[in-house]
Symmetry: D2
Subunit: 186 residues, 4 copies
């Protein structure tokens, strides 16, 4: 009996020690599917936020919100973003620079005269459906449909590809964004 | 004197040994810009090959070449490919399966009745211009214009994004492919 | 009533369509903590297997098992392994080649005369405690103590670092292995 | 003649246009062998710097330099470092925390009573020989010998493994460091 108790005590001590020794630290730089989907949802929320700011405070207010989005959710600080917006073409098809992206969302830049400001179109609803997601280290790629609805109830669907990069602080940034209108056979 | 000479001899021996020790082995899994561009060029070559096979031997011959391209240059063996071809839409917009991709290139599949076979259109020339390339480990992303010219001299330009993954054997596979016609304001 | 039924039918159809659209495919190349720990446990199991094969069938049998371990659990097929075994020194400290690793585990190679065969020492028990794990894409690094016990009950503890690489088929391979006896101040 | 000149002019224009179109932006997050070797050399330089600071200004000066080294060249800011220093053992074998690493290099911490300060030993020379290097994305692993020589000319050789992670700003940080004295058969 006494022996058994002692054994139990020793065992408890061993478990305690073991748990101390086992307190392994984990550093994990990988991106997860949940993080990717949260970033996809955040993109839509940001689009609606810019639209709402525009309605409330005009282009200046919209631009202020758009800058925050680009500063925090896009990877222009990393050198360049592979960005092909839905409604851009010709020599300005690819918006690899911060200024090009900002103009696409809120216009008001004489260097990008074709832009009317995609985020100024009164967007109220947003949804995304992924066809597939590819996860590779700290980068994830998504492809699927994105649906946006404006204040009049008009719905627009685009084919969209995103690439997200996870930063050291755990935040995700868009490093790739290819958006296009559905192909029409006519 | 003798001592100095001995020291020199020892030194020479040490240098020899050191050079042996320095024969470091390098394992490098990273993808390079040159490999990416070679894969981009190979895609165009493959497209022309399928077109030529079609002219010489009909759909059956074209399909045979197309299968080899999909087997060797796309990542369907890895689970799925994020593929949005230029001329697909509706429920069949995204060709995440091998069969969907094959039908897009050479048609002849009743499950994809909308397809006319993109690779069967008599392509003779190919060129690509990257707006930007993003390299991250064994994956690289490209975005830019692709130009193809058919046997009648008609040129088509598309906005194209590719994602390439480098395999353990050093070969590159397309894991992402988003192609779209340029936006037209009209 | 009919209206309600119709609405329900439409709703059911919508759910069906939605579930089809939402059936996103996920390709994930990342290594997980669970996979790493399973590989760490498998290494110890393999060590005991080689020891048992040695007791049952001698060096030849042990070598046969060891080859399977090296073929399946080490990355020599990838070019080289960064392997510093516990009991190797001098010019043969680092076993970057398959033959060097095999000799370390089961000796019987005149090119590595110092080896006595680490896996032939009658190992019966194995345990590992990670101090920390670092996960980066398809590679994970571990550092901690490994404890092995021989048939006489003698326990040996080593300081051990492993690097694991996840292959396209989901299996893990050791690409780095640094093992050393604990430092003794005396 | 004129034709030739015209052709040349056209050609020059084409080259100009081409160079404009081809001005692709490259973002490359991968680590290179040269960066790895520079970081390996920098580690030795830092060790000598701490030793020199110690000789000139005592432990306080040495600690100040050591902190800068840990702040800039180790990954403690990323969560933890897998660090097994040469002369540490028992419960303090693994220095996964900043304080544990600092004490190993310059001692002067009552929580790590066993430490005598590895960087205070008057190191004057440093060299490294890699047996192998493994490069995977933004992480590289090295294994080989490191030689250090103190002010009296005594040379110490250790078996050393490093893991380096490249940060978004292009700098490299040590996330893994396993150092051990050569095995002695006696």
């Amino acid at each position: 009996m006494k022996f058994t108790l002692t054994k139990l005590s020793l065992c408890a001590a061993a478990v305690l020690m073991s748990s101390l020794v086992h307190a392994e630290k984990i550093v994990n730089n990988n991106i997860t599917l949940d993080e990717v989907k949260a970033a996809q949802q955040a993109w839509g929320n940001a689009l609606i936020n810019i639209s709402n700011a525009h309605e409330a405070g005009g282009v200046k207010a919209a631009k202020s919100v758009a800058k925050k989005v680009l500063d925090n959710a896009y990877g222009y600080n990393l050198g360049a973003v592979l960005f092909k917006p839905t409604l851009a073409n010709g020599e300005q098809t690819f918006r690899t620079t911060y200024d090009g992206a900002l103009s696409y969302f809120v216009a008001d830049d004489k260097n990008f005269a074709q832009d009317s400001g995609f985020a100024l179109k009164g967007w109220k609803e947003y949804a995304f459906n992924n066809a597939a997601v590819y996860i590779n280290g700290d980068v994830a790629l998504t492809m699927g449909h994105v649906h946006v609805t404006d204040r009049s109830g008009n719905k627009t669907t685009v084919d969209k590809t995103w690439g997200f990069k996870k930063a050291a602080d755990g935040s995700l940034r868009i490093v790739l964004h290819h958006s296009s209108l559905p192909y029409s056979a006519n």
